[in-house]
């Protein structure tokens, strides 16, 4: 039976950047030591006319263009984000319309902090596997919020990635997916509030590490694999340190994680984080490469995936997300606030 997997992918990161040192300057902190401590040196900033919908559309259009999929055959669109432009009115329909998938499709928006995008992938896998749809599109995108002056501000950034899930003509097979989900209130945002709250150090061990390590261990147990069986490992990247620490504890090497670690140069794109990291790996992966992906969403949960790249990847026009990231323009804190719409 045809394996379910990735038929196409597209990623997008806005052009503007702000350095962690510039943010620190405004708040009277030591920028150099904060950057080094977090492993985040600069982060992406959306332009004043960009939001989660526009980023999702850009990523989705790239996925459709590069995969050559007929958008009318996309039977589902799910957009996962913590910063949907509307609290009520889906981003998914805007994307569906903009890629020409409407009206024969189902759609909904997802929220599960930073792992809403991978939850969307799992849903699409189910719909494709059961032959309910031919292709499904899963997007993780955000223009992440953080309260000015809060520790999260150094990393909260903007970006997104779209994945087209299908059967048969896949560039990467998803061999298995498992999840580990608990009710862990480490980071949240109340209805109507502009900024999230979080449990500071509580977001580490009981939250990120518990979920990520448990899900990954469960996956490897199910697959009967060890870290050395994988060529790449992509973990959710709230900063540059957590994924490395998780990797080490699980037995993965720095080299396996590096390719998919973009956080140091674009920050934490929240729902886009793991998916943009995966796109960087797919940009360079070779047929037969095996990739382990574990996302993390506060609240809390992790979705883990075991992926094998097929030889169809050689015909795929790679996104070159690292090249896109290199095309950047720095802004100062005032422009950053203005672009993010903080001055209403």
């Amino acid at each position: 039976m045809d394996k379910v997997g990735i038929v196409g992918y597209g990623a997008y990161v806005p052009r503007y950047r702000i350095k962690a040192e510039e943010i620190a300057r405004v708040w009277g902190k030591n920028g150099k030591s904060i950057s080094a401590g977090l492993g985040v040196y600069e982060k992406s900033v959306p332009s004043i006319d960009e939001d989660t919908a526009t980023i999702s559309v850009e990523a989705a259009r790239r996925a459709v263009k590069f995969s050559g999929v007929n958008p009318e055959e996309i039977g589902a669109v799910y957009v996962g984000s913590e910063s949907h432009p509307y609290a009520v009115k889906p981003t998914a329909t805007i994307v569906g319309e903009a890629i020409g998938a409407t009206p024969d499709m189902t759609a909904a928006d997802y929220e599960f902090a930073c792992k809403a995008g991978t939850a969307a992938i799992q849903t699409c896998m189910g719909l494709v596997k059961s032959d309910m749809i031919k292709y499904g599109m899963a997007i993780g995108a955000d223009v992440s919020q953080a309260a000015p002056g809060d520790a999260l501000e150094y990393a909260a950034s903007a970006g997104g990635a779209a994945y087209i899930i299908g059967k048969g003509n896949v560039i990467a097979e998803i061999n298995e997916t498992v999840s580990y989900t608990t009710d862990t209130p480490d980071f949240w945002r109340r209805e109507g509030e502009p900024y999230p709250g979080h449990g500071e150090r509580f977001t580490g061990e009981p939250a990120y590490f518990k979920q990520v390590i448990s899900a990954t261990k469960k996956l490897m147990e199910k697959m009967g694999t060890e870290p050395s069986d994988y060529d790449y490992a992509v973990f959710h990247q709230p900063n540059g340190k957590f994924p490395m620490r998780a990797a080490k504890r699980l037995g993965f090497s720095k080299e396996q994680v590096e390719e998919g670690l973009l956080c140091p140069i674009i920050g934490n794109t929240y729902s886009g984080s793991t998916l943009i990291g995966l796109s960087a790996v797919l940009d360079v992966a070779k047929p037969g490469d095996r990739i382990l992906v574990t996302s993390y969403g506060s609240g809390a949960g992790s979705d883990s995936f075991d992926i094998t790249v097929t030889d169809k990847i050689e015909g795929y026009p790679r996104n070159n997300i690292r090249k896109m990231i290199e095309d950047k323009v720095y802004v100062d804190y005032a422009l950053y606030m203005k672009y993010r719409g903080e001055f209403k």
């Binding site: 526009t54 319309e97 903009a98 323009v329």
Partner: protein
């Protein structure tokens, strides 16, 4: 802008859907009911046509004094663009330093927020243009 008015134009605003004259093949954006060249011969022959989204800058300006809905976004660049299909349209050029914009510059369409109806109203998305590779 009213909801219905904006919604009606989503095919144009999101996907650059214009019309092609079934008689002479000329492409128009926004859509037309008849071809101004073929006139009567084109009645009933105008077909939907999706523009590629690529074109060149015919002329441009930088707006420093914006209209009310665009306050806070100035300065921004607006260009008259000749699309590859031969028709012209107007749009903002984004993600490009003003000094780099020039007549003849190749551009491609991208998807951005255009306007919003205050904080409680709808958001209006549409096309803007970036420098093409």
């Amino acid at each position: 802008m009213g909801i219905a008015r904006y919604w009606r134009e989503i095919p144009q605003r999101y996907n650059l859907i214009g019309t092609k004259c079934g008689s002479c093949g000329r492409i128009y954006f926004p859509p037309r009911a008849i071809c101004p060249v073929c006139r009567r011969k084109s009645i009933g022959k105008m077909e939907e046509y999706k523009l590629k989204g690529t074109g060149t800058v015919e002329t441009y300006t930088i707006i420093y004094t914006p209209p009310p809905h665009f306050e806070g976004e100035e300065p921004y660049a607006i260009a008259l663009i000749k699309m590859d299909e031969g028709c012209y349209l107007m749009g903002e050029i984004v993600d490009c330093d003003f000094e780099d914009i020039h007549i003849g510059m190749k551009v491609e369409a991208c998807f951005r927020r255009i306007e919003e109806d205050g904080t409680r109203g709808a958001i209006q998305y549409g096309y803007k243009f970036k420098k093409a590779e």
